[in-house]
Symmetry: C2
Subunit: 237 residues, 2 copies
DNA sequence: CTATTGACGATTGTCGACTATCTTTCTATC
DNA sequence: GATAGAAAGATAGTCGACAATCGTCAATAG
């Protein structure tokens, strides 16, 4: 990790690099939910001091990928239906706001970009390219959020999406046939591009509500009410 | 700072205590927006090491009260109309979700509590007690969010509210006559308690939209469109 | 046999010293 | 006098050592 002045200032910081490295291992399933993280081990593996690892773990904790039990341990965040439920509902609220702002304020150039991104999604879906379609799906939502021009929203959304992908891979989530997604996304795209604020908000917010129900059902879990109760009891931290 | 086993584990940690202390000074206007924060100074004032202060500042940075310029400085977050705009819009999205979840899932006991909290607000407002009314206002919204049983939502909302209060005190925000707030809050309370999901969502989400317009107008600033453009240019960090 | 207490080992929490980077100031050159 | 480069000062970034805390397990009392 020598001094590379070509990198942005942020990326030169060792704790950021360490966080990136650990984050990568978590989202790529090398470290599964509940996996214990020892500061000393990570420090020797990444060849930095324990203090630097600590800083990295705190960042990841704020991103929701890692949990800490004070004085005791760090571990990869657990994956569960209730966690996924939280993420999907929150995502809906954020994307609803983003879509309404995008529909109201985005520039013509931005609207054109969104149309193109949708075209990519449609092409990938029709070609049955699941991987590409899933990526295009995320890209479309990310584009709308970026169009909102809302810095906090963009940052928070990025974090939520990261957690969504993490949870998805561990909950046994099976994506729908990409073709089924086209209509929803077309309607959303048209609402945003056409400046229909109310409709854009509504479509984006409820975009995944079917997904949530499907998720809860597929896992033979009690409906959301029970999930909620379970949350309330949540351990003190 | 001796060993006090009476405190929760969290609160015994020096970096948390330091963060609490600094946070207090920021929200109480002892440290204004833009105020420079020197690690060494804070360390000697609070009688902890620089590393501990560093950890505290990172926490506050995640809460949005402090900003960092890598390798250079820490400072109290700036207050501006665009920042306030971001916070109000985000708050609306979060409270909209919270209200819909509360309306759908809250227990009868919780609904009863909400009714009581609204009664407190109404009493304070009618008695022209501005301070008490403002507190009751926040308390009512916080209660609804708590009723959602959504852990991430509760945490994020708490952070947003903290920032809202911080911005409010520095933007020259003049609260409305408390009496004018009663009707809105009554409608919201009734929708949540009555289980009208859609209406609760709608009312909570747009609750402050008038506030946003008033804020932008009162500061003789360009309307939200211009505010948004300003955001997009935002400095790279 | 069970429950309580205490010592031990493992791990996180805190500190002070050292290093890297940025900003400012000074100086030399045109 | 203006400008570019170098040196100096200030400040954040990183490290290794030491302290505090927690969980475990064995010893002991009932």
């Amino acid at each position: 990790m020598s001094t590379l002045t070509s990198l942005k200032t942020q990326e030169r910081l060792l704790d950021r690099q360490a966080a990136n490295s650990i984050r990568e291992q978590i989202v790529n399933r090398i470290m599964p939910p509940g996996h214990r993280l020892l500061e000393a081990v990570l420090a020797s593996e990444l060849e930095v001091s324990r203090g630097t690892i600590r800083s990295a773990l705190m960042q990841l904790s704020n991103e929701g990928l890692v949990r800490q039990v004070a004085f005791t341990k760090w571990e990869v965040a657990p994956a569960s239906v209730s966690e996924a439920w939280e993420l999907y509902t929150l995502r809906g609220a954020l994307e609803g706001l983003a879509a309404s702002l995008a529909a109201e304020y985005a520039s013509p150039a931005e609207r054109k970009v969104l149309t193109q991104v949708f075209a990519e999604l449609e092409a990938a879906a029709k070609a049955e390219q699941r991987e590409a379609a899933a990526d295009a799906d995320f890209k479309l939502h990310k584009t709308i959020v970026a169009m909102s021009g809302h810095k906090r929203l963009i940052r928070d959304h990025e974090r939520i999406i990261l957690q969504v992908r993490f949870q998805m891979t561990h909950i046994g989530f099976v994506p729908r046939d990409p073709k089924d997604l086209i209509d929803d996304h077309r309607a959303l795209t048209e609402a945003v591009v056409g400046g229909d604020i109310e409709r854009a908000e509504q479509l984006a917010r409820t975009h995944n509500s079917a997904e949530i129900r499907r998720l809860l059902a597929a896992n033979a879990r009690p409906p959301s009410e029970a999930v909620r109760r379970q949350n309330k009891k949540g351990e003190r931290e």
